[in-house]
């Protein structure tokens, strides 16, 4: 779960990591109120879950009440990488002497957290790192030991941080580790961490991503889960514990298992079809979960045909069939539905669906070809 900058900063602040003064606003009246409170020039920052906000004009400096109003309205009318800006963060403008990049992220290949740091913060660190491997300090953290002070010092040395700031830096990075550890984060990132007024370290930006599998044990974080910021269908999918990714096409897909789902999408592409989504209902899905998945697909108006490909293992095909029947009856769906059932209880499942007018496919290749054909037919 990615969370917005202002939410991440709220957590930073709980962990004692210094951030600029400021608050979130949803309109110019509130923004102006914050500006009056702060008694300083302010930076207005679009709150969207994507990078590149600065380049898109979503981060602006305002020096007067008029500018605050004008820029707030401007930013709140923008979309950045397709995401409409619904909230802004109004913060005191901070003098920047030097910018650093600092992060604790997860190296999934090695199964360890990694401390990263660079003296080239504030700009596109990925590009800089690509060109110059020495630009990035990176050190694995032993999961059972946790981040050690000496590792933080190694980072401070690598990014050539002035020595009088080492102590504050150690506090910030150890707190960042505590935040990562105690909140089941996948990634916590400060870019840039700045030196301001010669001797203060401040986190100007904040990114926090929480492991979806661990959200159940952080009920206090659920308030940060902002439905408005998510795609409606992705939100529904998450709610039902399904894995859903929106794509560009018109064939709605529902498959059990991520590997089989990817294989199905690949085969669709090979056959000239265009999937509308990736949807993995996971292992052992019951009728209800199947129904939820199908409802999400039906929400998508671009969908012209539905492809259901199930190979029952831990999942039972009769359960799947029941889920499909329930939804189809309830929603009066008239779309063509191609169904392929194999494995555990597949004959029972097929028997249930027999009289329902679905297009039954023998195997995955067959299912894909029938779906592609149907997707190129007339509109609904």
């Amino acid at each position: 779960m990615r969370i917005l900058e202002y939410q991440s900063k709220r957590i930073f602040s709980q962990y004692g990591i210094p951030i600029p003064k400021g608050r979130v606003a949803i309109n110019a009246i509130i923004a102006d109120h914050i500006y009056e409170e702060l008694k300083s020039d302010v930076v207005i920052k679009a709150q969207v879950l994507t990078g590149g906000r600065g380049k898109a004009g979503g981060i602006r400096l305002a020096k007067s009440a008029e500018q605050v109003e004008e820029l707030t309205n401007e930013i709140l009318s923008m979309s950045i990488k397709g995401l409409p800006v619904k909230k802004i963060l109004v913060e005191e403008a901070v003098r920047i002497d030097q910018e650093y990049f600092i992060a604790i992220t997860t190296d999934k290949d090695e199964g360890v957290p990694v401390l990263m740091a660079s003296k080239y913060g504030g700009v596109d660190i990925e590009e800089i790192v690509k060109g110059n491997h020495n630009a990035l300090f990176s050190m694995p953290i032993e999961p059972l030991v946790g981040l050690r002070e000496f590792q933080v010092r190694s980072a401070a040395l690598a990014i050539e941080l002035p020595k009088q700031l080492w102590h504050d830096f150690e506090d910030i990075v150890l707190n960042l580790w505590n935040l990562y550890r105690e909140n089941d984060a996948e990634n916590v990132e400060i870019n840039p961490l700045v030196i301001s007024e010669g001797n203060r370290l401040i986190a100007l930006d904040a990114k926090v991503t929480i492991d979806d599998n661990a959200i159940y044990r952080h009920p206090e974080l659920s308030e940060f889960f902002d439905m408005e910021e998510e795609d409606r269908m992705e939100y529904m999918a998450k709610k039902y514990g399904l894995s859903y990714v929106k794509l560009e096409g018109n064939i709605g897909c529902m498959v059990n298992g991520a590997g089989l789902a990817m294989a199905t999408l690949d085969l669709l592409a090979d056959n000239g079809g265009q999937p509308a989504n990736f949807l993995d209902i996971g292992g052992g899905a019951n009728a209800e979960k199947v129904a939820s998945g199908l409802k999400i697909i039906l929400e998508d108006e671009r969908v012209k045909v539905i492809l259901i490909n199930i190979f029952g293992g831990i999942t039972r095909c009769d359960e799947v069939a029941r889920g499909i029947l329930n939804v189809m009856e309830e929603k009066h769906c008239t779309l063509p539905v191609v169904i392929r059932l194999a494995g555990t209880n597949s004959s029972q499942g097929l028997a249930l669906l027999q009289s329902s007018g679905f297009i039954a496919a023998e195997n995955i290749a067959d299912a894909v070809k029938l779906s592609v054909k149907a997707s190129k037919g007339k509109k609904r």
Binding site: E186, G257, L260, M262
Partner: protein
């Protein structure tokens, strides 16, 4: 014989009294696997599977009473890490963890603890192991495969069933089929299993089914080039998948090392490993040669 485990290995099931645990313990037993015990905290003293299999409160007491050497784990995600810690601590030789959705930081810690032990872990989020006609640990449907000379290793569950089933329909058979699990942080990877297949007299060809993300396939290709003499085949899914979402710059920097399908496919081709471009192709490719 199967790779990894012998056919008559005594097996306990952690989470045996849950819906999935019971269902699959029965299926395993029906396939001929020697299920000797179940473990469900608080249910010690119960009997399951036609009242023939005893349930214990802890793995240690189960081992003491039954001599179990391997465990298959069906415990829910919030308790699965603890189940693995318990199985490792009790000194089991093998753990097959079927559970999916285990928090990542839990799994990091399990993996480090595992490294201090002699236990071998398959999974989590693994369908387990099936050696047709011999033994089954996990959830791979028994009827989809027949005995044969093809060793199959995969990161997927259902995709593997699909492939093995197609092989069977085309008349081919499998020596051992094993899923390492769909999660990013896993116990055994491809490499350890490739080594076992290379040494397994019943395996004559090896099929590796990979995915986008992670470094498993890259490591495997290196190992195959250097150490595997048996004909090896590969299939990679995710060609049409959109780029994964970033966790910020740091995530992108780390992920860069991991591979897209195209990158992996290139590696495989360059290493001279035979690549199937679709599921349909697989049986013909494997059986003609």
């Amino acid at each position: 014989m199967s790779i990894l485990v012998r056919s008559d290995i005594p097996v306990l099931v952690q989470g045996i009294t849950g819906k999935e645990g019971t269902f699959h313990a029965q299926k395993m037993q029906g396939y001929g696997t020697r299920i000797v015990a179940g473990v469900t905290p608080g249910k010690g003293g119960d009997w399951v599977l036609d009242e023939k299999i005893p349930v214990f409160d802890t793995v240690r007491t189960a081992i003491e009473a039954t001599g179990a050497e391997a465990s298959v784990i069906f415990v829910p995600a919030d308790r699965a890490a603890d189940a693995m810690f318990e199985a490792i601590d009790a000194g089991l030789q093998f753990i097959f963890c079927v559970t999916e959705g285990i928090p990542m930081q839990d799994m990091m810690r399990v993996k480090r603890y595992l490294a201090t032990s002699d236990t071998q872990l398959v999974g989590p989020n693994s369908p387990g192991l099936l050696s047709p006609g011999k033994v089954k640990l996990g959830i791979i449907p028994g009827e989809i495969a027949q005995p044969g000379n093809i060793g199959v290793i995969s990161r997927s569950g259902t995709l593997t069933y699909e492939i093995v089933n197609e092989i069977r329909k085309a008349g081919g058979g499998v020596s051992t089929c094993i899923g390492i699990g769909g999660d990013p942080i896993l116990g055994m990877g491809f490499v350890e299993l490739l080594e076992m297949f290379e040494d397994d007299p019943e395996t004559e060809k090896i099929l590796m089914v990979g995915e986008i993300g992670g470094r498993f396939e890259e490591d495997a290709v290196k190992f195959i080039s250097q150490h595997v003499t048996k004909p090896t085949y590969a299939f990679i899914v995710g060609k049409s998948a959109p780029e994964g979402r970033r966790m910020g710059h740091a995530g992108a920097i780390i992920e860069k090392r991991a591979g897209s399908a195209a990158y992996k496919i290139d590696l495989i081709k360059n290493a001279g490993i035979r690549l199937a471009s679709s599921i349909e192709e697989i049986p013909a490719l494997l059986l003609k040669s």
